[in-house]
């Protein structure tokens, strides 16, 4: 099952290396990882999507991450109300004939065309990973020349429905 974990970490050299190293050392599978500055100076935010077999694995992952000295906080967002977004750039073949067809696909997905070449279009799409995957499937028949995805970045929503406390770490 897919789980989304966010980390806040000290923005120091080698921190990303520590995190990815830990994943490979402990034999965990990262699906995607995004890194960027957070609202606090000197603190970065990392969002990882991991594929795990069961809850005990995710518990181990969060604990091992928490053990890292540069990791300030680890949260498992999977069971929460969250906003999660990913951006993809897709360079797709387009002839004058297919251009309007493509436009018809782009609109309902609220994607946009950000570059037009002689025989290609670059489409930008943002949304949850499922939406992006659905869009890619639709576009595939036209011929995808290049594809770049940022991976998911996620946030807790301001209001949480129900009463699912955020799992930081389960012990203590």
């Amino acid at each position: 099952m897919k789980r989304i974990i966010t980390l806040t970490v000290n923005n120091r050299p080698g921190v990303l290396n520590r995190i990815t190293n830990l994943f490979s050392k402990r034999n965990y599978n990262i699906e995607s990882i995004t890194v960027g500055h957070s609202e606090v100076e000197g603190v970065s935010r990392i969002t990882c999507v991991v594929n795990v077999e069961n809850d005990s694995v995710i518990e181990q992952i969060t604990k091992q991450l928490n053990k890292q000295i540069d990791v300030l906080k680890v949260s498992d967002l999977s069971d929460q109300a969250i906003v999660s977004r990913e951006l993809a750039l897709i360079k797709v073949l387009s002839t004058p004939n297919t251009r309007s067809e493509l436009n018809a696909l782009i609109e309902p997905f609220r994607a946009s065309v950000v570059d037009i070449g002689k025989d290609t279009l670059v489409i930008q799409i943002t949304g949850e990973s499922d939406k992006i995957e659905a869009f890619i499937e639709l576009i595939k028949p036209y011929g995808i020349k290049e594809l770049a995805r940022t991976g998911t970045t996620a946030f807790l929503r301001g209001t949480q429905r129900g009463n699912n406390p955020v799992k930081n770490i389960s012990i203590v």
Binding site: G14, R18, N21, L22, S56, Q60, K63, I69, I171, V172
Partner: protein, 572 residues
């Protein structure tokens, strides 16, 4: 002397100091007694300052020897071992020792030289990506980029290495940072918001554990090295005597509980004793204090403590539930947890029947060996135990001799046992004995080694001679890599692929070359005579003991088997 005066003046007037001076000053501030180090190009500026320092410097004959010596020092003294090596090969030569210290939770502060900041990344002479190499095998590592950061980084490194779950911390110092100068910065408080080890246990979990103990019929304590790191041996004894719960030790935990105590069952695990393993198997309450449920202890996890409620006291929350599902997690320092458990004065369990069963197992299935024609390693260790009254520091390498030492040397005190447990590093023993001896200069140190492991770090004989350390090197010479040979005999149809040493040097002559006295011992009578002689003085000595080459370590749990599937538990 001149230097010292200069030093004080500089400090008083707050004149700029070089990175190397700041480094040495910081080490003195941390009360470092000994540095295990090996000079080289990138650390020359540091070595120039070491030349004038009052701190003892020990030169191993290989960097690996240096870091293992630091591990031995840390294990016995409880203080961090300090290592300084040069860049590139100096740094890569300590990788094994770092990994060993990481997995066995030994506090080390390791300095590596690095090429100057301007050429980092250019594949300069003796450049290696030390941070990249050591990130997974250190608790934390740094590369110092500003001279003025040195004092704070060192302060932080000592704090990280020794607090929480101890471990090695590495500081990479580029040559220009060691040379460059800076004004002595003001001392800063350590601020590590992402690192707040939990020392005090959660009260509710302590209550839960106390209640579980009073309900239990078959409780057992599994005590690991966490007890030793927390200095909690006395507390463990007090708790056990209050609650009458029997104790099993892990390999690394030996000495945390007195071996001759009636509540001690023995070592558990692959070569542990019957009573200990069966106690773990049959228990209805398993209280793990400072052990990490290593696979060599648990055997096949599906048959590990199948009927037990598991409680786990560990300072590292990530260890709890990692291998064995845990009902009562107690994140805490072992001492803090034991103190609180004792204070509960809970009702002791009604476990008379259980204790009787365990006593009968202990009597019926002790460690045993056939004392026939050849000299038996177990006999040798029994003799050494008796002759040293169980008070020697025992340092081992890895393999059969290590297991025999763990089985037959009965530790009555904590911190007398140095062995490479988690990593199983051959070549560890001889250099570790140097550090152990320097940490307790009056103690008799028995370096129990195999002929294989001894030959991996033989060169450190020079250090033993140089400092005239009271290290008694006991080589259990069976002419083979005994544990490998044993597995080939048992699991590979006696196909002894490269496990027999084709030629063997004369160890006595080798010792002689280093001006260390050596003896060959082939019989019990010789052993009796020579042990008495060499243990009565404080000189180093090498004993080449020709043991029965066919002797195997028993009892044994074959790989993949459970604790209840021991073989070789009783004399045939």
């Amino acid at each position: 002397m001149l230097q010292e005066t200069a030093f004080t003046n500089i400090k008083a007037e707050n004149k700029p100091m070089s990175g190397s001076e700041l480094l040495l000053q910081a080490l003195e501030k941390e009360n470092v007694e000994v540095i295990f180090g090996y000079p080289g190009g990138a650390v020359l500026p540091i070595y120039d300052k070491i030349y004038d320092s009052k701190i003892l410097h020990v030169l191993p004959r290989h960097e690996q020897g240096g870091i293992h010596a630091a591990e031995g020092y840390a294990r016995i003294s409880g203080k961090p071992g300090v290592v300084i090596v040069t860049s590139g090969p100096g740094a890569t030569n300590i990788v094994t020792g770092l990994t060993d210290a990481m997995i066995d939770s030994l506090p080390l502060v390791v300095f590596t030289g690095q090429v100057a900041t301007g050429v980092i990344g250019t594949d300069a002479f003796q450049e290696a990506d030390v941070l990249g190499i050591t990130t997974p095998i250190t608790k934390y590592n740094y590369q110092v980029r500003n001279v003025e950061d040195i004092p704070h980084v060192i302060k932080e490194a000592f704090y990280i290495a020794t607090s929480g779950r101890p471990g090695p911390v590495l500081i990479d110092i580029p040559k220009d940072i060691a040379i460059g100068t800076a004004e002595v910065p003001e001392e800063k408080e350590i601020q590590l918001p992402g690192y707040q080890p939990t020392l005090k246990p959660n009260y509710l979990q302590i209550r839960k554990l106390t209640e579980a103990v009073s309900r239990a019929k078959k409780p057992v304590i599994l005590a690991g090295a966490g007890v030793l790191h927390a200095n909690a041996a006395a507390d463990l004894k007090a708790y056990v005597e209050q609650q009458k719960i029997p104790v099993v030790h892990t390999l690394l935990g030996l000495g945390g509980f007195p071996a001759e105590h009636e509540m001690f069952l023995g070592m558990g695990g692959m070569h542990g004793c019957y009573a200990a393993n069966m106690a773990l198997y049959e228990a209805d309450l398993l209280i793990n204090i400072g052990a990490r449920f290593d696979d060599r202890l648990t055997g096949n996890l599906s048959c590990f403590a199948p009927n037990a409620t598991v409680a786990h006291v560990d300072i590292d929350p990530a260890e709890i539930g990692k291998n064995v599902p845990t009902e009562i997690p107690v994140v805490a320092d072992a001492k803090e947890a034991l103190v609180q458990l004792i204070a509960q004065e809970g009702k002791p369990p009604s476990n008379e029947e259980w204790l009787q069963t365990l006593t009968s197992w202990k009597e019926e299935y002790p460690y045993f060996y056939e004392n026939d024609h050849a000299l038996k390693p177990q006999k040798v260790l029994e003799m050494l135990y008796e002759k040293t009254n169980g008070e020697a520091i025992v340092v081992t390498d890895v393999g059969q001799h290590q297991m025999w030492a763990a089985q037959f040397y009965k530790f009555s005190k904590a911190n007398r046992w140095v062995t490479s447990g988690g990593l199983g590093t051959m070549g560890f023993g001889l250099p570790a004995s140097i550090g152990a001896s320097l940490a307790d200069k009056d103690a008799c140190v028995l370096a129990v080694l195999g002929d294989g492991g001894f030959q991996m770090t033989t060169q450190e004989l020079a250090v033993i001679r140089e400092f005239n350390l009271p290290v008694k090197i006991v080589i259990m010479n069976n002419g083979s890599l005994g544990m490998v040979r044993q597995w080939q005999e048992l699991f590979y149809e006696e196909r002894y692929s490269h496990s027999k040493n084709p030629i063997q040097p004369s160890f006595v002559k080798l010792a002689d070359a280093y001006d260390i006295k050596g003896y060959v011992i082939e019989t019990e009578e010789e052993a009796e005579k020579i042990f008495t002689e060499v243990l009565s003085n404080k000189d180093p000595v090498l004993l080449d003991i020709r043991i029965d080459p066919k002797e195997n370590v028993y009892p044994m749990i074959a790989p993949g088997k459970g604790l209840n599937e021991m073989v070789g538990v009783k004399k045939q």
